[in-house]
């Protein structure tokens, strides 16, 4: 147990930053690689949440409360974004009967 506490106590800002970076990269990779529209939307949410971790980490380690307020803003916006995104996804699905983004390549050149 103490070892664990020790480990936890040793967790520094950098750990959080690395975590958020990993999450962010995972989100990015999801956007880059997944073909399903819904999964892509989720990956974007993942990216935003990774950022939230960063905010909170910075806020926590600097003792500045602003960062945590910002997370609320971000969450609100993420929600709005999700709403719009899903609406668009539904629209797309209705039109194309498909959620694979490779089907939307009419605009090119």
């Amino acid at each position: 147990m103490p070892a664990m506490t020790e480990a936890l106590l040793k967790v520094s800002l950098n750990h959080y930053l690395v975590l958020s970076a990993i999450l962010f990269t995972l989100g990015m990779l999801g956007v880059l690689l997944r073909k399903n529209v819904i999964v892509i939307l989720m990956s974007i949410e993942l990216m935003l949440n990774a950022v939230n971790i960063t905010f909170i980490a910075f806020s926590r380690y600097s003792g500045n409360i602003d960062g945590q307020v910002m997370v609320f803003f971000v969450m609100t916006i993420a929600a709005a974004e999700a709403a719009v995104g899903l609406a668009l996804a539904v629209l797309i699905f209705k039109r194309f009967k498909e959620v694979n983004i490779r089907y939307f390549e009419h605009l090119r050149g």
């Binding site: 990216m47 950022v51 905010f55 960062g67 971000v74 629209l91």
Partner: protein, 488 residues
């Protein structure tokens, strides 16, 4: 405290007025049982909203105040850029009123969304805090995503909207990530704080630099700077033309203002790496926009690429403002260029809008053939607009470019300006092509059908304005200068 809040609210009163008016048509529609109000009434209400906002802005101008604990600033640039955005919006509303893809059963919602988007833009313009900037961008963009999809045409516009949405959100995340880093290193997201510490942090703190770069790239996405430009042709192409016109002008105008505010610091003087990267981005943006436009046969896509190129030119001014010793001159040139660019782009897209007979039609270069024989005034206007885009004197476009290049030369950025010049020459090639089609072909021209009174008015009005203001650019320049230096 209360007094303070009141003052703060007064400063954002244009936003409130605009929002209230934008709700009105939708409310009417709701209360009338989802029956579309008379589009004239909707349009009229939209205009009232814009005029109210303009009036309030004018009344408040000269304040040079901050509000909401410094999160919002109301200075000369705010006022001036707000006017510009309101003007663009008014024109865009007129275009959408005429346009086959946007008029009809959802015009009330359309107006609501457009004015809400303007709301976001004004927030962006006013913002003095990165988080507010983020909120502004998102408000603006979310409305735009929907606006793009709000066409009766249902393949391209939907695809455009979706692409825009995914990529936009992707870029927003990057932007936000950058904010987080800046917040972490500076301890604040308010511009003055950030700008104050740029000088010390930029050469010492990698995390700060990373954050700054990511924020910059977030802006770069919105103004379609290479390599974040790829969405632009597709989205501009797929979106209804009035929306495209709106996006190409208003979004760029407001985003560049926020972009500009980020660079209002002496501290960038030593950031050679950063400057180099930005310069290369500017050059590549100009190049990619221009060379790709050369190969386009689709008029709208060509304009989309050209708008990428113009972002590149504006970046020149931005770099001159940020990395030189005379921010005011650079900022003046950027704002002046945004103004001239808005006018000519609106006019040109208006011509595209006129040629779109059906919601899913695309306007090829060939459709302009012989146009001068049938529509001499329109052709002349389009010629003026295109020459202005190409920067041929004595149009406004020339003076815009002239001031941009002047600002850069003042900072001895010859290399950058040289690229600007080379690109201007390339751009002449494709800007002249529609003129060739219109004047130098004897084909029977396409007939322009449908209601397009306001669109026609827009084309002629912008063209005339471009010539007149080109010949008398001094008052405009003076106004911009004063707005930048807050001397009213």
């Amino acid at each position: 405290m209360n007094m303070q809040l009141l003052q703060d609210v007064v400063l954002v009163s244009p936003l409130i007025a605009l929002f209230a008016m934008s709700l009105l048509p939708v409310m009417m529609k709701v209360f009338q049982g989802n029956r579309e109000p008379n589009p004239y009434v909707t349009l009229f209400i939209g205009f009232i909203g814009l005029s109210l906002a303009t009036g309030l802005t004018a009344a408040l101008s000269g304040a040079d105040k901050t509000a909401f604990s410094g999160a919002i600033v109301f200075d000369g640039i705010t006022a001036w850029m707000s006017y510009l955005v309101y003007l663009i919006t008014a024109v865009a509303l007129m275009l959408s009123f005429d346009h086959v893809a946007t008029r009809g059963r959802q015009f009330a919602e359309f107006v609501f969304l457009m004015l809400s988007s303007v709301l976001g833009m004004i927030i962006l313009i006013m913002s003095n805090d990165l988080i507010v900037t983020f909120i502004g961008i998102e408000t603006m963009s979310l409305c735009l995503y929907i606006l793009c999809a709000m066409s009766k045409e249902d393949v391209l516009s939907k695809e455009a909207a979706f692409k825009y949405f995914i990529l936009g959100s992707f870029a927003s995340a990057i932007f936000l990530y950058g904010i987080a880093f800046i917040y972490g290193t500076v301890g604040s997201t308010i511009f003055p704080d950030i700008l104050e510490s740029v000088g010390t942090l930029i050469s010492t703190n990698t995390l700060f630099v990373v954050g700054l770069a990511m924020v910059t790239l977030g802006f770069a996405f919105k103004v379609s700077v290479f390599p974040l430009h790829a969405w632009t042709p597709d989205v501009y192409h797929g979106a209804p033309t009035p929306v495209t016109a709106f996006m190409a002008t208003a979004v760029k105008a407001s985003t560049f203002v926020a972009f500009l505010r980020l660079f209002e610091s002496e501290g960038y003087g030593d950031a050679v790496q950063f400057q180099n990267v930005l310069q290369w981005l500017a050059v590549l943006t100009m190049l990619i926009g221009n060379v790709a436009a050369v190969m386009q046969d689709n008029f709208k896509r060509m304009l989309a690429y050209s708008s990428i190129a113009h972002s590149g030119y504006i970046m020149v001014g931005l770099i001159a403002a940020g990395f030189g010793n005379n921010f005011d001159a650079g900022a003046t040139s950027v704002i002046f260029y945004l103004f001239s660019y808005a006018l000519m782009t609106l006019g040109t897209f208006a011509v595209v809008a006129m040629f779109e007979k059906a919601e899913n039609s695309t306007v090829g270069m060939n459709e302009l053939k012989g146009m001068a024989n049938r529509y001499p005034l329109l052709s002349l206007s389009l010629t003026v607009l295109l020459l202005s885009l190409a920067g041929i004197p004595p149009t406004l476009g020339f003076f815009g470019k002239f001031y941009l290049f002047s600002a850069a030369i003042e900072q001895d950025m010859y290399w950058l300006v040289l690229w600007g010049v080379i690109n201007s020459v390339i751009s002449v090639y494709y800007y002249l092509r529609p003129i060739v089609m219109m004047y130098m072909s004897d084909d029977v021209p396409v007939e322009i059908v449908g209601t397009n009174g306001m669109t026609r008015l827009t084309v002629i009005f912008t063209a005339a304005l471009i010539v007149v203001l080109g010949l008398m650019s001094s008052p405009v320049l003076k106004a911009v200068q004063r707005s930048v230096t807050n001397l009213f």
